[in-house]
Symmetry: C2
């Protein structure tokens, strides 16, 4: 047993020597313990104490309770050092040392791990302490807290067992708040709690201080593998092998009168990022009162008025900590009879908006580099910031009409609409079933996390910006309104009510996490206003300077193209021409065209009618992307997609045949059905589409190419620079490309001759079939660019039809760990990625300057963007809304390659 | 012009020096010319002459007519040598030399190229020759032939122009045969033919011998690029760059009286392979009379009676030639006034049956090695031999009832059933539309080949075993009955009639190319009897000794397995367990099982009912394959395939709702439709099937594995050695395999425990998705064998649904040259092959002794078998009927690797 299992707070240097790095120290001592030790090192007032390491926790999982016996001598030695420093003695009624026992893993898991305060109290110590402090009321409040926390945390007694008695007592006495209870009453509560303890556990409350400590430490270790901890780690992607440390720290008391208090604060605003202290405190209270959200707190600034000296020292320390850590800090403090103690510091959790502003401002303040600022913002933060917001006009109407149900704390931004669910299990069930759910609770607890994660939004009637609900919601980017006190949330009746309005479970509500407003029904949402996100825009400009990948957008209409451009897209990676075929005035012409004989004058007549529509579509998109490349994909889906549904026709014909009612319509329906049957395919995904259609019915592609180049030439004449790139989809062998390209370049030449002007253009292909990747060297002979259609490439590589699979087995696969992620969301590097790389390599062997990009949905997924960077692609293309995410992800990939990290 | 463009027959050594090899000599001089030269070298009596090379033909295609002028001096020099040898002079009325001018390409193209006989005749020469021979009748017959052939072949006059006049004259005179015409009448015919010549061409018949020769030689060169030559080469896969030589040879005459004659013969029977001379001859006739099938010939054996000395010399020469060439020869000869001349020898075309017997017997005679014998037989020959034959009982009935329409020459074996088409264009049109066609003609001509190739069978009323129809049919393996003289084939009325029976165009007939019988209607066919094919069995035993690849069969039932074993399969590569689900008594249980709740007792109840059925299926297959491995694939298709059709239910429900007739049935149909809808998939090929189904509904696979191992253990107890290999299909990632294997091995262990006996077994996977090939290293961790399902692998690699594609675009692609072959028939080496090789390589990296095979339809395709050999697979598996083909193809691949050729 040569390993050092216990470290005093002042032994951070020893820990560093063992662990090798600050990250190693955090792994060894846990984040909380490492920071307590670090604060001790830099002279911040921290109550003395020590840490049992995370490695001890892991060892405990292997060996069980006997392991604690083995290391107990070390714990006692550390306790002796702590006693020396405080001049008090653990378990000694004459001069008792009380300690807190807290968990602390490498990564913060708020509320997930367990805490026991006031360890070391028993009847004798309480009596002694009451004599020493002269404050019996404080002592028995502390004692009953120990019994209560020990009971619920260590012995697994439902907390309600204690709280119900307390509530009952207060009602009987007519008290509104805990502070009204007298010393005697607290003593009575303590006695009652011990009875409750015995009734639930069958044993006496342990009076030995050392036994209390040991049981509490063991409870911390055990809680590491408790269900809620495992759930949380699974959700947050934290390894189960890390273990948690146990922090044993001298108790200081914020509940020793009006010159005492306790609070939590962020060094900057965690919602907006503004550089001001942000937090809450309570006078004459213990720390968990603030976090639990049971009592309503005062904003931190007010502390300057109530306890000016302590506040001044506090603000100095927070500035020191932020400079030391070069990160926004989340601190806990207690003032014991005027003396400030720092109980914790850690990097503060924050909203996406705040993350971005803090990163940008810290770079501008010189605290960090711009590269670090970019690395500090996760693509998910940008995603969250660009979440839909409520439509301003609709919201104004609702407000004007008095339809606001309540305004709570704007705890986590974003607009959310969903059905109300009044417990976590139901929220999870409905969420998994695909419903949009708003989870509604008076307050949330760690047990509720599974439901919160499945919800689109969280609404509570109690608790502030640092309540459990708020913290969890911010971390996972879920919109949250907390502490909406006007709402009466009745979990038993499964409804919420306010004034005369009642919202029952399953009814729709809307919450605005950015403003704290709650509305009945579904409020319409709108896209966020990127223009106004100045910090994000700055950050992304920096990102653009670091990235190597280009970012384009997939856009089918001029307004999409304009939006994409405003979001920073440098071109269009995919315009789907067939979307235009579905428009109301065009579809009947499209259908007649389809039903006409291929190659006939009739077919050409209808194509001639479609030409002006397509030309004007392309004119708009090309104009919006002036000076930038625009890839236009020729018609891709099978033609039957444009015809009426086969099922409906079958049913209609069957019906009309029996009734004989409408012979004219029967005749028409039969004729249409016969055409639909001709075009029917067992597996349309693998059918007559893309270039295959182009080869069998070349007139359609010829019309499209004519439309593209007529529009391009017209724009050129108007002085607009255009760069059309014509993309031929679904190619599997190079002959297809050769034949189509020859045919279509003929059309291009013809249009140039007619218009008397030429534009720069390219021909290329969409690579979306495994074979195309394999024979990419041949493809590149006829293609000047490749664009990977990774949606279809994933379907064929996996042999999975996305439409069919997601509901039927794919999500099950992900849930059961058979797949690491849904391959339609996160590009499958092993399989699909192999083919992508093979295609790039082989394609560039034939044509060194081949332009290669990706236009599947993966283009907006950060992990997939990173892959595209590594694979040497030229650009990614994604939906306009995801362009900012792709820009950031591309910068991350490049910075990661350079070894830049966030810190 | 240093190149030698003209070779005398005796200059074969010079040609060899230039061309480097015998194959080179054939390429340079053409097959016919090379053989004439070779016969000259080995002392066979060949009329003197010379050859203008194939390279001259190619040069002519580039330079045109002036090229002939350039080389004409060489031609004249060769002619002077020929004159010296014969003592005659070309164009000299006093002692005239007449020559034939024939084409001769490297590969024989019977009837495709053009021939002109008697070149050198004109009025003066004819008169001179008549004086010299004293046979005016012979001279003017020859002269009119020259005018006629020159007119039709060189000047493109329709041959009917000449023949109509001849027919008219004969009718007027009451003659039945050409031989009845007098000398004066032939002279009159010659004069008339010259008039016809002038009327059609606007010029006089060229009287200059040298001009005749030049025009004829040019016609030969031109005919190389004539439409029918190009069509033939396309069909036979012969390069268009080879060119044809011109053979100029001294004329000898088989029509100089009753001690003259002409004939063709094979050194062995080209239909059966029997070692006897086989051929036809005509006394007092020229060669083309035999080939054209206009006059009915005598069998060659009869020549021994008519002209015993010439016949003796002839048989000696044929033996000499066969030994020299070590191949069955097809020879042409002419006897001029008792003197035998050999005009041609070449490797004889023959039926598949004959090919095999000759190869085996020549090896046994010591003429060739067994390796060569194996290489001489093409997989297509074996395929043809194993073509269906008519059901013997049905045929006997038809014969007994006098339903045989006619018995003609058994010109090319095999049974064919189809609709009668009376011209080549219609036969081609119907054939391409997918109809089975029997092409029916009085006789066939080179112009008809496109229709013949599209037909399932060929029937003529004229011509023998060496007629155009017979030769072409044998070469392409098309069943043919020729010379069925009883049939009146009326091309104008588009019908054939015999006695009172009339078969109109489009009506079905059946022909047996092995017996020459013709039947009305569709005669039932049966599988061939492999047991009786002794030569094939011998050859395949030799092949087995040479091959490295194993050959297994795909078989679902015990009788399939037994047949496969008798065809030489060494195990089962694929048993499809779901086929058993479709059987009448099982399907209702299967449907109830599908509709029950997954994991429910009800589901298990129905699976328990299915268990005995499956167990008995597996018992039978395993028993039939005693001592050999049997791969059993777990259920593969999506479950909705076992339910009623969605379309039909939609129509039925729509109908019943309107009529309100049968509420009970409506309720049932609605319920079933709702279940069918739930299971419906947009792309079932890429849906919930194979291992995905196994994971979502494990009870089905568990039942199947139980059935397999219960059967296996029962057999083991009976003393039968069994080697079951359980195959998990449609895997795309190794976790699927891991999970299923663990689950199913649990069942195996359980069955072993219950039965108290264990059998050797393996678990493996079907590799049929691109991703499975890419992550084959991971797959091999859980798979002891891979079996490539190349049908599905081709579908996903190409992104082509076979069901949809073949009719809609794939066949078009092949026809237009966009694809070299249908990838579902011939494995696509570039794309699918790449993935197969990748999978083998990666799989074996993880597990060196991984067993790898292929069980797609490609397993029976020779080119694909060769690929599998090259890719290092352990075996191929194919349908039982194709096992012999695969055995031969596997031997070819191995012998090819060793450098063994057919000669």
């Amino acid at each position: 047993m040569s390993e050092k299992w216990v470290y005093l707070f002042e032994e951070v240097d020893k820990a560093e020597a063992v662990a090798g790095s600050w990250d190693g120290v955090r792994a060894l001592l846990g984040g909380k313990g490492a920071n307590l030790a670090e604060m001790t090192r830099i002279g911040v007032p921290v109550p003395p104490g020590f840490i049992i390491t995370t490695r001890a926790c892991i060892q405990y999982q292997h060996e069980g309770a006997t392991f604690l016996d083995k290391i107990w001598h070390d714990v006692e030695a550390a306790m002796a050092e702590t006693e020396k420093k405080t001049g008090k003695k653990f378990g000694d009624p004459k001069n008792p040392l009380l300690v807190s026992v807290r968990s602390g893993a490498k990564f913060s898991m708020p509320g997930m791990m367990d805490t026991v305060l006031n360890v070391g109290l028993n009847d004798a110590v309480a009596a002694g302490l009451a004599g020493l402090t002269g404050d019996q009321r404080f002592v028995y409040d502390a004692y009953r807290r120990l019994v209560q926390m020990f009971g619920s945390v260590v012995m697994d007694i439902e907390d309600e067992a204690f709280e119900d008695y307390l509530t009952e007592l207060k009602e009987k006495k007519g008290y509104k708040s805990d502070t009204e209870l007298t010393a005697e009453e607290w003593k009575q509560v303590t006695a009652k709690f011990k009875e409750i303890f015995k009734a639930h556990t069958g044993r006496e409350f342990p009076s030995e201080a050392s036994e209390q400590l040991k049981l509490a430490a063991e409870a911390v270790f055990k809680s590491w593998n408790g269900k809620r901890a495992i759930d949380y780690r699974n959700a947050a992607g934290i390894s189960h092998d890390l273990g948690t440390a146990v922090n044993v720290q001298t108790m200081v008391f914020g509940n020793m009168g009006d010159n005492s208090g306790t609070g939590v604060a962020f060094t900057r605003n965690p919602a907006t990022g503004e550089r001001v202290l942000y937090g809450d405190y309570l006078i004459n209270a213990q720390g968990e009162d603030v976090v639990a959200g049971i009592r309503n707190t005062s904003p931190i600034a007010q502390l300057g008025e109530e306890l000016p000296e302590a506040f001044k020292e506090f603000t100095g320390i927070t500035e020191q900590l932020e400079k030391h850590y070069r990160e926004m800090q989340d601190v806990e403090f207690t003032i014991e009879r005027g003396k400030l103690w720092m109980l914790q510091t850690r990097d503060g959790k924050r909203t996406a908006r705040s993350t971005i502003r803090i990163a940008v401002e810290m770079a501008e303040e010189g605290l960090i580099t711009r590269e670090q600022a970019v690395m500090r913002v996760k693509p998910a933060d940008v995603d969250q910031l660009l979440h839909p917001q409520f439509d301003i006009a609709a919201k104004k109407d609702a407000v004007d009409q008095g339809k606001v149900l309540a305004v709570g704390v704007n705890a986590s931004p974003g607009a959310a609409v969903g059905v109300a669910a009044f417990d976590a299990d139901l929220a999870e069930e409905w969420g998994k079933a695909g419903k949009d759910v708003i989870m509604v609770r008076p307050e949330t607890k760690p047990d509720d996390v599974h439901g919160m994660l499945a919800a689109k939004g969280i609404l509570t009637s109690r608790g502030g910006a640092t309540s459990h609900a708020a913290v969890v919601a911010r971390q996972f980017g879920i919109p949250c309104v907390s502490g909406a006190e006007a709402l009466k949330i009745d979990v038993n009746k499964r409804q919420l009510s306010v004034n005369n309005v009642v919202i029952k479970e399953g009814e729709v509500i809307s919450i605005d996490g950015g403003t704290g407003e709650v509305f009945p029904g579904a409020m319409p949402t709108v896209a966020p206003d990127f223009e106004k996100e100045e910090y994000l825009r700055t950050l992304l400009e920096w990102a653009d300077g670091f990235k190597r990948l280009g970012v384009r957008a997939n856009a089918d209409y001029p307004h999409d193209a304009r939006r994409a451009r405003s979001y920073g897209a440098k071109g269009i990676g995919l315009t789907r021409t067939e979307h235009m075929f579905f428009e109301q005035e065009r579809l009947p012409i499209v259908q007649k065209m389809i039903l006409s004989e291929p190659g006939s004058a009739e077919e050409q007549k209808y194509l001639d009618q479609l030409l002006p529509f397509q030309r004007s579509d392309f004119y708009g998109v090309l104009k919006a992307m002036e000076g930038l490349p625009v890839i236009i994909r020729l018609i891709d889906p099978p033609l039957h997609e444009f015809l009426p549904s086969r099922d409906e026709l079958v049913a209609e014909v069957a019906e009309l045949r029996v009734t004989g009612k409408d012979p004219q319509r029967l005749h028409e329906a039969e004729a249409m059905l016969s055409e639909v049957e001709k075009l029917h395919e067992a597996n349309p995904m693998l059918g007559l589409r893309g270039v295959r259609l182009g080869i069998m019915r070349p007139a359609i592609n010829k019309m499209q190419v004519r439309a593209i180049f007529e529009a391009a030439c017209d724009l050129k004449k108007e002085g607009v620079d255009v760069y059309p790139e014509v993309m031929i989809p679904v190619t599997a062998n190079s002959n297809e490309l050769k034949v189509m390209r020859e045919l279509l370049e003929g059309v291009v030449k013809q249009v140039f001759a007619e218009k008397g002007v030429e534009v720069h253009y390219m021909f290329g292909t969409m690579i979306e079939l495994p074979r195309a990747c394999i024979v990419a060297d041949e493809m590149a002979e006829y293609a000047e660019f490749f664009s990977y259609g990774t949606n279809d490439l994933t379907q064929t590589t996996y042999g999975i039809s996305r439409d069919d699979a997601e509901g039927k087995f794919l999500l099950d696969y992900v849930e059961r760990g058979l797949l690491p992620a849904n391959p339609f969301q996160v590009l499958d590097r092993d399989g699909v990625g192999y083919l992508v790389k093979l295609g790039v390599e082989r394609g560039r062997k034939t044509r060194a300057d081949l332009e290669v990009g990706i236009c599947g949905e993966h283009g907006g997924d950060p992990s997939s963007v990173e892959f595209c960077h590594e694979a040497g692609l030229d650009y990614v293309s994604c939906s306009p809304f995801r362009v900012p995410i792709a820009r950031l992800a591309a910068a991350h990939a490049a910075l990661k390659e350079r070894g830049v990290t966030a810190k």
